[in-house]
Point group: none
Chain length 112, copies 4
């Protein structure tokens, strides 16, 4: 996988997994690979992988069954959708609007 240098890798992985849930590729109850397996798969240190899983767990997106593995929460898609929408609308939209104004751009650039 190609990671961008500006953002921590573990957060980029969180984004990828969240997107897979949003798109329906991963569903509630699905097991996700172990940190070792997934880490080896995408060429990342298991510690880093672990941090991603911890973050997803803290956010209620996945949960752990001890000795078995990590699973997608039943309401994962709803949670991701709700959290991201809230974040997007409350934080990003105002920043984007301000920036567009400063740069003399208007929202039509999103329609093209």
């Amino acid at each position: 996988m190609n990671f961008n240098t500006e953002k921590p890798i573990y957060l980029q992985i969180v984004d990828v997994i969240s997107d897979r849930i949003l798109s329906g590729e991963l569903k509630g109850g699905d097991r996700i690979p172990s940190v070792r397996e997934y880490g080896a798969d995408i060429g990342v240190n298991p510690n880093t992988m672990m941090r991603s899983y911890e973050k997803l767990t803290a956010d209620g997106i996945i949960y752990n069954k001890r000795g078995i593995g990590y699973f997608v929460a039943d309401d994962a898609r709803e949670t991701v959708l709700r959290d991201q929408r809230k974040d997007f609308i409350e934080k990003e939209v105002p920043a984007i609007r301000q920036r567009m104004q400063l740069l003399g751009l208007d929202s039509s650039i999103f329609n093209a």
Copy 2:
């Protein structure tokens, strides 16, 4: 000044100065304060200030006159505007559009 912890201080200073140029508060040819002066002003170490000036110089926004100080480039506003627009349109817009689609939102949220 209040700095945000997510982004390096020296880059936040770059943003502030860029915005002052965009808004017309700083114009081509204007001298900007010395690293010591500006640093004392906003409670930042002169070395940190220097990093901001180095970045702005590398971007062609300001230039140095030896032993005298830093000055706003004649075409600074155009440069800032062009660079930021390019960055916004090429990098942010596609990411935003993709995210909106995934979240089931449309561009009308930017019109309200």
Copy 3:
């Protein structure tokens, strides 16, 4: 290491590393020592080392893997060669030719 006082140390280090790449001693993909290690090695502060690495990164000669270290870019040798040739031919050659003419010398002094 012996540094010359006329040129900043961090740029002299950039030159040394560039030359090691040009000569083939360092190849694409090779890891270069950490700022602490290399710094201790040549008796220079890690911050100074960092400046050298920043410059090399900005020039596309090396790149960083987060938390791991710096690596020589795959096309580093080509980049160094191209950049230095360009600089030499466009900037130095005209200056040298002018100076030789003024001093009444000709290019045979380079053949001896």
Copy 4:
């Protein structure tokens, strides 16, 4: 005048005056403008101008008549020619040859 940022202004002025002597534009016995006059002319601080004259005086290229002004030395052209040739042949030529070898260039670039 346009000064380059890499080299001290006072040395760039020394170069200009040396070149004017080499080219025959300034001859032995000619008076050169006062530091104030010359400085105003090229937009430079008189202190800076003074440093140039001091350097040229130390090198035996010009001399001062107290209360009258600075004059080009009778043997100025010979001195400049000798000093610059020595410097060029002993210091620059070896460096240039080494660099050309590293870059895979040959002296024909000076003939074109």
